[in-house]
Symmetry: C2
Subunit: 161 residues, 2 copies
DNA sequence: ATATCTGCAAACAATTTGCCGACCA
DNA sequence: TGGTCGGCAAATTGTTTGCAGATAT
């Protein structure tokens, strides 16, 4: 565990949050992985692979979607990312270091709000126990609408635009 | 002149539960739709399209997967079915007339247990409200493992065969 | 040095769809 | 009879993978 001290010969300002985690888990850091790590670190939302690729390529197009897929899967296996599925067919990714949380999806805007709730955790555990299981994981998604009732467009879940 | 006779000209014993719902919503009932409706009515689990197709074809092979896909989507739009996603890539279907419920998935066996919980409903509504939303929908899935979650800090309890 | 990446395109799996004959209302 | 529906196979979409050259350690 030797550390490379600050010989700023390679302009590498600051290893991103996620990059640091990658190194911790002993991943070989390539240019594209560093790039993806940075995009992930800067993301405040839950991008899908296509979106990650778009953002990464915008910074440096020496990368392909295949690599994003591979990297994202690797990071998931290493416990750095969590794969989510908000419907819509594509997997969304969420860095685990943001802490355990759930999501509330605004059905009108498609906007995703994160939240935590101790009360819920307790209830969930209680339910599992009542059914004779020990809780290993959970998934909670709430779909809501802001205050006043608005004419919601019919149709199914195709949060495109 | 109407012939509402009891002459079994078309051996149609009893419209299945789901078939009745289809008719109610004004769907044109064809042989294959009736078949799928019957399979769905008899199902106690949450089959995916492939499985529905298998079961239907076993009763009458004058049907194709494409039709199952089309029908299942139609029933979903009509609110007769609910599409679920328990991971694994394929969509699972769940008749809505079984009532509102959530799922607990046994991570070891893959078995799905349905349950309801008033306490949870209350908490969910409260969370949404706290975030400034009115609850429109929710999705809760618990993943558990059979075994004693009991406060027994002793050695690990081997999962019973 | 060398085991591990990456890009590319072909392979895959789940689901959709165009075309046209078959069928229900 | 007219408008829908169903079968078949080709088309789409999201994701994976084999290969050969590029890289990190």
């Amino acid at each position: 565990m030797h550390s490379h001290d600050r010989h700023a010969e390679t302009a590498r300002p600051d290893p991103s949050r996620i990059e640091r985690l990658c190194v911790e888990r002993g991943l070989k850091m390539t240019g594209q992985r560093r790039l993806i790590a940075r995009v992930l670190s800067e993301a405040e939302d839950h991008p899908d692979v296509e979106e990650l690729y778009r953002r990464a390529a915008a910074l440096d197009d020496r990368i392909s979607v295949a690599t994003v897929y591979r990297t994202v899967r690797l990071l998931e296996e290493k416990g750095i990312l969590e794969r989510r599925d908000f419907g819509g067919g594509r997997a969304r990714y969420d860095p685990t270091d943001r802490g355990h949380h759930h999501h509330l999806i605004d059905v009108d805007t498609g906007r995703v709000i994160e939240f935590e709730d101790a009360e819920f955790e307790k209830v969930a555990r209680a339910i599992a126990e009542r059914l004779g299981f020990s809780l290993v994981g959970q998934r909670l998604e709430l779909f809501g609408r802001k205050g006043a009732p608005a004419p919601a467009p019919r149709g199914r879940t195709k949060p495109k635009a």
